[in-house]
């Protein structure tokens, strides 16, 4: 016969930290622990992933909280980066042959800004020097000589033509749009009236002379066009020669610093050649000096010679970069080409190419929040494309959606050598891995972070150092030993386990921040245990409006929960509500009704689609329990209905299945259940009570109702015995238990629970196969027998009775 269980001793309700195990007075000066703490599996995975250089060995780090994973990974990657060489710098330069395709140049780490400055200075120097050269007496003389020589030819030709025309009595006249020929006499153009008065032969001769001179004039003008071109060519050649000579020394000086970089030297040569082709950009500066708009246009044209440093290690030392992109839009990831509006058009050039995270992290490591990455259109696909190609191609998002209405650039792709580390929660990883086969191709290394660790002296000390390190790093007030002890206990509560500690550093950091605040309010330089308690209480208080409203409904008897007396087929169940990261226990009345029937138990929650599958499973297990215990020799001839009273939301989980079984047995046996006890625990078909989650919240939820009504000394909570190790209850609950005003009973079997709830033993079958007098089992069996008889009296078989509803 199962004995009535004994309440748990107060020391089993909460495990305090042993202050003697903490070898410090307070956390002042306690440095942050380096690297990953107590994450051997994840550490090994990340170490492996960062060492393997082959494609696809990128890392997906998962854990309970993405933020904690991110921080931990970052610490380790920063350490690893110290041992890896820095990647090269990258610049974009004008492709002087095809400006739409800017060229990418690589320079050794940190040298790009110097190159940029050298070229900028070169252009600035040429802007000052070349106009001076072209204004010099020497140049002017040479140009005048070149032009004069050619122009003199033209003048001579035209003068000869003029002389020939004069000999023939014809004059060359300038019209507004060209030239014409007309007869001349006595040095004057012959007026039409005079010409008409001439003899026909004279007129004919004049016309013939003009016709023949027209041909000469045409030839002369053609010759003049050639001379014009000859003049331009000669002038340009002179300009180029002059400029080449003027530039030679300066350009050579710039090249001298990059003799080890053939690509850079080739660019400088190309730039110098282009400068000579466009020397007017410098020459015209003097003429445009008084016109700011013209100078701006010339300066704008000279921007083609500048260097766009896309990424440089100049400011980052010689270590491999570790970059985190918090907003991985497509353009933030692969870079973008920006535009300027100019007279209604969008214009761009290589100088408006902006680096993305892939550029900045190239040669190192890029951390990305998987959820943020997947939330951005095109980013995940673009990342995969970059990894597949092994190069960064700047992609314009407007092209994807067909919005591009302007000519854009196609910059040279930049070779990609990078380690990508995605971090996120486990569910996301599992979802993505099932939906996208490319994940396994590109992220071969899984770093799975443990969320908890064993609680022992060593790990308590480890956590104490984490706490001290956080306080130090965040500039918070140090904590004394007791305060640290309380924070460790809170870590166990967060782990929902006396024997484990959470590794959710993010939650501890939040707590410590509040602790520091409250210590400051209290005027303490070092935070104490009271500050920790206060901070925890404040955290709860801020989030507990819904919980308090629920309690108020119960205390005002709007939500019906009895905390005294006994009822048939009625019991106090316990559930946990989790809202916005705050969880609390909520008592619920569960009732059961029975009648003769075909042996089915109706889950009303399920019928109205408020019950989840796990809850339905728990209810169905009850049928198995009944059949196993009472249906061995006779059919189970009842229908039962179970309901969470006043429950208007969804119910899931099987943690109420033992509770429902108690209500069912009470309803069948008509033996009342104590209402001063609340129950939680799942049950299997053999009546063994099994562990559930949220035991602490559930106990505290019921305790608060009882305490508000006044503790009677008989009240308490039945929990699965296997949950006793998870208890980290509030101090007031523990104190009430220690004072005998409240009790926590560890329950192993339904028999134990029924004995406690009814005061009647369940009992084993006697030698005659029957149940002992006064036992719950006997009462259940007798009632079932009655139901069977009712059915038989009605002339039917139990399995032929109409069903109330399908399960």
């Amino acid at each position: 016969m199962a004995e009535v269980p004994v309440p748990l001793a107060p020391e089993r309700l909460y495990r305090r930290t042993d202050p003697a195990a903490l070898d410090f007075a307070d956390t002042s000066g306690m440095a942050r622990l380096p690297g990953l703490i107590h994450q051997p599996r994840a550490r090994e995975a990340i170490g492996f992933g960062t060492c393997v250089g082959q494609a696809g060995f990128n890392i997906f780090a998962i854990g309970d909280a993405a933020d904690r994973v991110r921080e931990s990974v970052r610490l380790m990657l920063d350490e690893a980066a110290l041992t890896r060489p820095g990647p090269p710098d990258w610049v974009y330069v004008d492709n002087f042959v095809d400006p739409r395709r800017p060229r990418a140049l690589s320079l050794p780490a940190g040298r790009a800004p110097g190159f940029q400055k050298a070229v900028h200075d070169l252009i600035a120097e040429l802007k000052a020097a070349l106009p001076a050269v072209f204004e010099s007496e020497d140049y002017q003389k040479r140009r005048a000589a070149v032009q004069q020589g050619i122009q003199a030819k033209g003048q001579a030709v035209f003068a000869a033509l003029n002389e020939k025309a004069q000999e023939k009595g014809v004059a060359i006249l300038r019209t507004p749009a060209g030239f014409t020929l007309a007869p001349v006499r006595d040095g004057k153009i012959v007026p039409p009236a005079d010409f008409n008065a001439w003899l026909r032969d004279e007129q004919h001769a004049a016309q013939q002379a003009i016709e023949s001179l027209e041909k000469d004039l045409e030839d002369t003008l053609r010759g003049m066009s050639r001379l014009e071109k000859e003049t331009r060519d000669a002038t340009q050649a002179l300009e180029r020669d002059t400029a080449r000579f003027a530039m030679e020394h300066t350009v050579r000086q710039v090249k001298a610093a990059y003799e080890d970089l053939p690509g850079v030297l080739a660019h400088i040569d190309a730039m110098a050649a282009d400068l000579l082709e466009n020397i007017q950009l410098f020459v015209a500066r003097q003429e445009a000096a008084a016109d700011p708009a013209a100078i701006a246009r010339l300066d704008s044209a000279l921007e083609r010679y500048e260097i766009n440093v896309v990424v440089s290690q100049f400011d980052h030392g010689s270590d491999a970069p570790v970059v985190e992109e918090l907003n991985p839009t497509l353009s933030n990831l692969v870079g973008r080409v920006e535009y300027l509006q100019s007279q209604g058009a969008l214009v761009t050039n290589f100088g408006m190419i902006k680096a993305g995270a892939l550029h900045r992290a190239n040669g190192g490591t890029l951390l990305l929040d998987a959820r943020a990455l997947l939330s951005e259109p095109y980013s995940w696909s673009a990342l995969k494309r970059a990894l597949t190609r092994g190069e960064i191609v700047i992609e314009d998002v407007t092209r994807f959606v067909g919005l591009t209405a302007t000519v854009s650039l196609e910059p040279d792709p930049i070779p990609l050598n990078i380690k990508i580390v995605l971090f996120g929660d486990r569910n996301l990883y599992y979802l993505l891995s099932s939906a996208d086969p490319d994940l396994a191709r590109h992220f071969k290394v899984l770093a799975d972070f443990d969320d908890e660790c064993e609680r022992g002296v060593e790990n308590e000390m480890m956590l104490a150092r984490i706490i001290g390190g956080i306080a130090y790093a965040e500039g918070l007030k140090p904590l004394d030993r007791d305060a640290v002890g309380r924070a460790i206990e809170h870590a166990a509560r967060l782990a929902e386990d006396q024997t484990r500690l959470t590794l959710r550093v993010d939650l501890l950091r939040d707590l410590l921040t509040e602790v520091s605040h409250w210590a400051g309010v209290a005027g303490r330089a070092v935070a104490t245990r009271d500050d920790v308690e206060h901070a925890i209480a404040q955290q709860i208080a801020r989030a507990s409006r819904i919980r308090d409203r629920g309690r108020e409904m119960i205390l005002r008897d709007i939500a019906l929960i009895d905390t005294s007396g006994a009822r048939v087929g009625q019991i106090n169940g316990l559930s946990v509500m989790s809202l916005g990261g705050f969880a609390f226990g909520k008592p619920s009345r569960i009732t059961c009704g029975v009648r003769p029937g075909a042996g089915r138990i109706v889950d009303i929650e399920r019928e109205v689609e408020l019950g989840g599958p796990l809850h339905s499973k728990g209810v169905l297990i009850l049928s198995g329990y009944l059949a196993g215990r009472y249906g061995q020799d006779t059919p189970i001839s009842l229908n039962a209905s179970l309901v969470f009273e006043q429950s208007y939301g969804g119910v899931d989980g099987d943690s109420a299945s033992s509770t429902e079984l108690y209500a069912l047995l009470s309803a069948i046996s008509e033996i009342p259940l104590r209402q001063d006890i609340a129950v939680t625990g799942s049950v299997n078909q053999h009546g063994i009570v099994q562990a559930i989650g949220g035991a602490n919240d559930k106990i505290e939820g019921y305790f608060d109702i009882c305490a508000a009504r006044g503790l009677t000394g008989t009240q308490g909570v039945m929990i699965p015995a296997s949950n006793a190790q998870h208890l980290m209850l509030r101090a007031d609950v523990v104190a009430a238990c220690a004072a005998g005003k409240f009790a926590i009973w560890p329950i192993e079997t339904i028999d134990q629970g029924m004995a406690l709830l009814t005061g009647h033993p369940m009992s084993e079958r006697g030698p005659d196969g029957g149940w002992p007098e006064g036992s719950v089992n006997r009462a259940v069996a007798a009632r079932l027998k009655k139901f069977l008889q009712v059915i038989k009296d009605a002339g039917g078989r139990p399995d032929e009775l109409p069903r109330a509803a399908k399960p």
Partner: protein, 250 residues
């Protein structure tokens, strides 16, 4: 106060100032000497006569295509040319910061210009390579040379610069020296006197090439010479060769 006794610069814009930068150079010159600036656009009457001849046609110097020279169209194009010349001239005067006067007249450019000129005037002319040989330009320059005014030859595409005022003198008594001195003092430059052959000149005078070579690397800002001296016939060519204005004095 103007120097040397000049009061006005006259720029003929119809046939006389064909160089693209001549209005600006003329305005700068006028400002430096404190002269009034008058621009005259002469609608060449001879051209209008020529257009009335039945066989007259004109050639476009760019496309080398011929088309009939129609009087009505010619009138329109002359008005357009005058408007454009006025705009160029006005812009140049504003840049120089001097007041300007612009007139449009119709007639023979030579007599018209001669009728305008007095001793205290300077007539600025700027031949282009091909415009210099045209009937109108030759009429203008011939008349200007014969007028009491001085003639200023402006080179095509000259860049403004500082330097001495060179008097290309036949001898020490050449009046161009005094005029050049006054101009140099007025504009803050030094005077340089060049006498290429020391007064021993052939009857035919000295060629522009020789004179330009004699000036060598003087770096002059302007050359002044006497119309009646041995260099009077080479002013236009000298201006083009040296790339500076040449002032031919009566």
């Amino acid at each position: 106060m103007s120097a040397p006794g000049f009061r006005r610069l006259i720029l003929e814009l119809g046939v006389g100032a064909t160089g693209p930068s001549s209005p600006r150079e003329a305005a700068a010159f006028a400002k430096s000497l404190g002269l009034e600036l008058l621009a005259v656009f002469v609608e060449d009457e001879a051209l209008l006569h020529a257009s009335a001849l039945p066989f007259s046609r004109e050639i476009d110097p760019v496309t080398h295509r011929w088309r009939p020279l129609e009087p009505e169209r010619l009138e329109n194009e002359m008005r357009a040319a005058a408007a454009w010349a006025r705009e160029r001239f006005s812009t140049a005067a504003k840049e120089a910061g001097i007041p300007e006067t612009f007139e449009i007249r119709r007639g023979d450019p030579g007599p018209l210009a001669a009728g305008l000129c007095v001793e205290t005037d300077i007539v600025a002319v700027s031949p282009s390579r091909i415009g210099g040989a045209t009937h109108g330009f030759q009429r203008l320059t011939a008349t200007a040379q014969g007028s009491p005014a001085a003639v200023l030859w402006l080179p095509p595409n000259a860049a403004p610069r500082r330097g001495p005022i060179v008097a290309a003198a036949a001898d020490a008594a050449d009046p161009c020296i005094a005029a050049a001195r006054q101009i140099a003092e007025r504009i803050g430059e030094v005077l340089a006197v060049a006498m290429p052959r020391g007064g021993d000149y052939p009857v035919a005078g000295v060629s522009a090439e020789e004179l330009a070579g004699a000036l060598n690397d003087a770096g002059e800002r302007m050359i002044a010479l006497s119309r009646t001296g041995p260099f009077g016939e080479v002013a236009a060519e000298l201006s083009a060769r040296r790339g500076v204005p040449v002032l031919v004095l009566e």
